[in-house]
């Protein structure tokens, strides 16, 4: 069970959180004309990197804040976590 540092609450065990996917994915702006491919890339396609991965987690059984986590997908090492509006 991972130990994740919520930027608001501090270190807590993984069972308080839920995983929210790749943090580098940006939703296309509303009303913007985009190609089918751009939309498909946003909805369906995700990279599955070995090593460092920037991802979103939700402190769902805690402060209910979404935040960013930099995690190694092979070792589960968590390098850093940050609030959504902070650079990681």
């Amino acid at each position: 069970m991972l130990e994740i540092k919520c930027p608001y609450c501090g270190k807590r065990s993984q069972n308080e959180f839920s995983y929210g996917g790749d943090a580098s994915v940006k939703r296309p702006a509303l009303e913007k004309e985009i190609s089918d491919k751009e939309w498909d890339d946003f909805v369906y396609f995700r990279k599955n990197p070995r090593g460092k991965h920037l991802e979103l987690w939700h402190h769902v059984s805690g402060c209910r804040q979404w935040f960013k986590v930099s995690r190694d997908t092979t070792t589960h090492e968590i390098h850093e976590t940050s609030k959504i509006n902070e650079e990681l």
């Binding site: 946003f42 909805v43 589960h76």
Partner: protein
């Protein structure tokens, strides 16, 4: 009462307390402090079970967790039994009853032993090669027979009656294992201010100090251990636990430990759980788990009476039990001489066979001085005896150790073997530590740590007491200093121990000439040298493949005694060295753990929380039959007399259509939305338009996922300019909140909106039926409830006899209806007021079953239609899709499959006979006699007995649905063996124009 093999005075057992127990139906006696194994051995019982595959007689090999053979089935008075328990780990309590496993009719005469006669026909991979044909015989015939013949204990048929607990703990330093290294590091870390947990799997602390002849300071080893443990127990920053095994090393230093709390107690209090599972997050972990002796391998090395030398010594020293009176000690190293000397001291003359040409270590000299008979360059070639070893064929090895110079038969009643020591690296390996092979000890040791763990003592390959103490004290200090920043250093005490010389790397004895006896490597899975040789000969190269083909190391003991010998063998056959062959993966748990302990208290109703509405007690008092709706318990119907579910649903629904009913709708998800951009936000998450919704009005909305699939529906009400009240379905309430938070926090943080779940803050009651307006008038005498002032989708805030209430004119039943919300604490008050004032209008409460009936015949969609596979148009909700604005999921709606005009549509279905209920899930097909697979046109999503028309009615999702209205199809339910001719009708079966809700 005599225990023929019990020594006088020796051991740490309590001789004042005699304990009786039963094994295989026979009564025996032992002492408090015995294990089942030591008590049986005290009575001369070696035969404990039959082997897995060949049903060979088997006895004890070890004295602890490493034991591969002595698995027994335990029984107790409460008609409870437990399979696969290690007799070496079971503490003796009065009345304990145990039986051997995997034998029939008895352990001494086992019918399955016939397998042994045919063992030539059961080599490695036998099952894969033999039972391939005919194909369908595997499931029907072969597998059931094999399962019955091979195997372990019998799984209990009844639920586990015991209680298990979970505990969470945090510490600076967790020390696994209380041998000399573990105690030292715990002492050093604790004295330097660290919060320490010291865990010992056995009842007694001290590890090797319990049986080794050593001194620490000026005390013997055991006294030093006892004194140190008392000192640790007196420190407020230390938790000391015996009977507690750390069995798993998980990510981020999450350690899992199992504590046995009850089974060793004669009269346990009923408040004590049987076992406690500890989740420990440790900043640093010290692994001082010691080492396990390896067996030597020779022909028929599995007879009862053949065991590890260290185990024989432990039985003598700790339990005062002789494992035999005519022992042969067979070794390739010095450590087994401890065992020989201990025998000699107890008046028994052992014969030592040492594979080495000589040894000049102090311990060998000591043995010689005690006149112990030692034969160097000698070994056991074969053992004899039926249910217990009675003699050994011993011989002098030739120079190349490929055969014997001579062989002679020597009688004996036990053979104590030692093939050197294997560090217990399981936890280190589980932590991600890549092990390295140490040539000097012929075993793997931890190398580079990947988590915060440090292995010390013999688990790290350091086999001397001096080094264990030094490492323990220095690591305990260093690790604690890193955490506490303190600098109190403790120094290791002086120590004395017997010195040793190097072992001989030879461990697998040649077979006597011309013989094909089995030489076992893995006792629990019956893997012999010939099996491994065969696997390599057949082309298996990777050690992981050899493991799976031969099942080497795959048994419940996880190859604690066999893995290294197996690796060595593969290396020898392939003429490689062990590091090139590598090792198989160590996985948690280190030792089998009862499922009950892993589950803990999360069983039955405690598996997950139960949510109840504030009106729950009223429902209970009024004969409600409840149904699980997610976590919620909701009244399904209110039973009157001998009514069935259907009777009640029809009665309750009819009363809503004719008079007025009230339904508890508290479980609906409720989300409070505030902020200046709230309307804009709703406009983005719902498919329809929200900017112009006036204050005091509700609107129905549908949400999509980004992939265009319908996510949820519900009504949202504008309480004030910047304040909305959203409702969701019961099932999706939790997901919708997370969804909204995601868009607000991650995607559109610029929006000024806050969301908060208020599901539990409001109690909700739906009042529905033609009489509901009259009832509302009575409930809210100061409110104008006319259609003009409070129209469909209207909203008012008004006092309910002094209690602030919210009134929404919304309807799920399709009738004239209102939903009243009050603060949860007033839920009962509201409910009772509704019942009281509604009495004269014939009010009745209705449950979810009647609610379903009402919504189904109205064609209103719910969870059974919004099933994660449909888009808006499938539900005839395409009118809800705004063309003027963008919203979540809109861009997906022009995908090819979504604009296909032949897509499924929601329709109504009526059986032609107007009598037969159509099972939910039935498939709609054109021809009920078509060959399989019969092309499916659609499926029945929900069924009810229409109270309006007094016949069955169902909703269905049907290909080209609207075009098929009037068509005749069949509803097939192979599960219920039904084929029902049906007619397709409109999904809006009752009041298709929606006049009632607006009346």
């Amino acid at each position: 009462m005599t225990q023929k093999y019990r020594l006088d005075k020796k051991g740490y057992i309590n001789r004042k307390k005699l304990i009786s127990f039963k094994f295989n139906g026979k009564k025996y006696f032992g002492y408090e402090g015995d294990t089942l194994a030591s008590a049986l051995l005290a009575n001369g019982v070696h035969l404990v079970g039959r082997s897995f595959k060949y049903h060979r007689p088997r006895g004890f090999i070890g004295a602890g967790v490493d034991e591969p053979n002595a698995k027994v089935q335990l029984y107790n008075k409460e008609d409870k039994n437990e399979p696969n328990v290690l007799a070496t780990e079971v503490e003796l309590v009065e009345g304990l009853t145990a039986k051997s496993q995997n034998c029939w009719p008895s352990v001494s005469f086992d019918f399955g032993a016939i397998n042994n006669l045919f063992s030539k026909f059961f080599p490695a991979g036998f099952y894969y090669k033999t039972f391939m044909w005919p194909k369908n015989f595997w499931y029907r015939i072969y597998e059931p027979i094999i399962r019955k013949a091979a195997g372990l204990g019998v799984a209990p048929l009844k639920p586990d009656p015991d209680r298990y607990e979970h505990k969470f703990e945090y510490c600076d330093v967790l020390v696994a294992g209380s041998g000399p290294a573990g105690i030292s590091s715990a002492l050093a870390a604790a004295k330097n201010g660290a919060k320490v947990i010291l865990a010992e799997e056995k009842p007694r602390f001290g590890g090797s100090l319990l049986s080794d002849e050593v001194t620490i300071g000026n005390k013997n080893g055991k006294d030093w251990a006892d004194e140190s443990i008392s000192q640790l127990k007196s420190m407020p920053n230390v938790i000391v636990k015996n009977r507690s095994q750390v069995f798993g090393y998980y990510d981020h230093n999450m350690m899992v430990m199992i504590e046995k709390t009850k089974d060793h107690l004669e009269k346990p209090s009923k408040f004590i759980p049987r076992q406690r599972l500890w989740y420990i997050r440790a900043k640093e972990v010290v692994i001082s788990t010691g080492s396990i002796e390896r067996p030597l391998v020779f022909a028929n090395n599995d007879r009862p009476g053949i065991m590890l030398a260290s185990a024989a010594k432990e039985y003598m020293k700790v339990y005062g039990v002789l494992v035999g009176k005519k022992p042969i000690i067979f070794t390739n190293n010095d450590s087994a001489y401890d065992c020989a000397i201990e025998f000699k001291k107890n008046g028994i003359d052992p014969l030592v066979l040492d594979i080495r040409k000589s040894s000049d270590s102090s311990i060998v000299k000591e043995a010689k001085n005690l006149n112990i008979k030692i034969k160097f360059s000698h070994g056991v070639a074969n053992s004899k005896g039926h249910l217990r070893v009675n003699s050994a064929n011993i011989g002098k090895l030739n120079d190349s150790k490929s055969s014997y110079e001579n062989l002679e038969n020597v009688s004996c009643d036990c053979i104590c073997v030692s093939g050197n020591w294997t560090p217990t690296v399981h936890l280190s390996s589980q932590s991600g530590n890549k092990l390295k092979f140490n040539d000097k000890i012929d075993a793997f040791i931890p190398n580079q740590s990947r988590q915060n763990e440090t292995t010390i003592g013999s688990a790290s390959g350091a086999f001397t007491l001096k080094k264990s103490l030094e490492d323990g004290f220095s690591k305990g200090y260093e690790l604690s200093k890193k955490i506490t920043g303190k600098d109190t250093k403790s120094l290791p005490p002086t120590s004395n121990e017997r010195s040793s010389e190097e072992h001989d790397k030879f461990w697998c004895m040649p077979l006597p000439k011309g013989k094909h006896y089995k030489r076992f490597v893995d006792f629990q899975n019956d893997v012999a040298v010939s099996d491994i040789e065969l696997a390599v000969r057949e082309g298996f190269r990777s050690i992981e493949h050899v493991k799976r083909y031969t099942t080497l190391g795959m048994a419940t003991d996880q190859g604690k005694t066999s893995n290294l010998n197996g690796l060595q063998l593969v290396s020898n056959v392939e003429k490689k060295i062990v590091p090139e062959v590598g090792h198989t993966t160590f996985r948690p748990p280190y030792n089998p753990v009862t499922i009950g302990a892993i589950v803990g208290r999360e069983v039955g109703k405690n598996y997950r929380p139960t949510r109840k509405s504030p009106m729950h007690s009223w429902h209970e008092k009024n004969n409600a039959v409840f149904v699980d709706a997610g976590l919620w318990l909701r009244p399904r119907y209110y039973k009157q007399g001998n009514e069935t579910l259907n009777d009640a649903a029809i009665r309750e629904a009819t009363n809503v259509r004719n008079n007025v009913g009230v339904c508890d709708v508290t479980s609906l998800g409720k989300i409070d939305i505030k902020g200046s951009d709230s309307a804009e936000f709703l406009n983005r998450v719902y498919t329809n338009a929200w900017m112009k919704l006036p204050v005091g009005k509700s609107r129905y909305g549908v949400m999509l996922r980004e992939d265009g699939i319908v996510f949820d529906d519900g009504t949202t009400t504008r309480i004030s300019e910047k304040h909305f009240h959203m409702t969701t379905t019961t099932a999706q309430a939790v997901n919708i909140l997370a969804h909204l938070e995601y868009y607000l926090q991650v995607v559109w943080p610029e929006l000024d909106v806050n969301v908060l779940s208020t599901t539990e803050q409001w109690a909700g009651a739906a009042v529905a039926g033609p009489n509901s307006r009259d009832l509302m008038g009575k409930l809210f005498p100061n409110l104008d409830v006319s259609n003009e002032t409070l129209p469909f989708m209207g909203f008012k805030e008004e006092d309910l006899f002094g209690v602030p209430a919210r009134i929404f004119r919304i309807s799920f039943s399709g009738e004239l209806a209102y939903e009243i919300n009050v603060e949860s604490g007033y839920g009962i008050f509201m409910w009772e007021k509704i019942m009281e004032l509604g009495k004269e209008m014939n009010i009745e409460p209705y449950g979810t079953e009647a609610l379903s009936t009402l919504r189904i015949e109205m064609g209103h969609v719910a969870g059974s239609e919004i099933d994660g596979r449909v888009i808006s148009s499938d539900l005839s909700l395409e009118g809800m899709l705004s063309k003027k604005k963008d919203f979540i999921g809109k861009r997906s709606l022009n995908r090819e499959a979504f604009i296909n005009p032949d897509r499924e549509k929601i329709v109504g279905v009526v059986p032609l006979d107007r009598k037969t209920m159509i099972p939910e899930g039935s498939h709609l097909v054109k021809d009920n006699k078509s060959s399989l697979p019969n092309p499916k046109l659609g499926h029945i999503s929900a069924s009810c007995w229409s109270v309006e028309y007094n016949n069955p009615f169902s909703l269905a999702i049907l290909k080209e649905g609207k075009k098929r209205i009037g068509e005749k199809l069949y509803a097939l339910s192979p599960l219920k063996n039904k084929s029902i001719p049906v007619e397709i009708v409109s999904s809006h079966y009752v009041d298709p124009k929606g006049e009632r809700v607006r009346s």
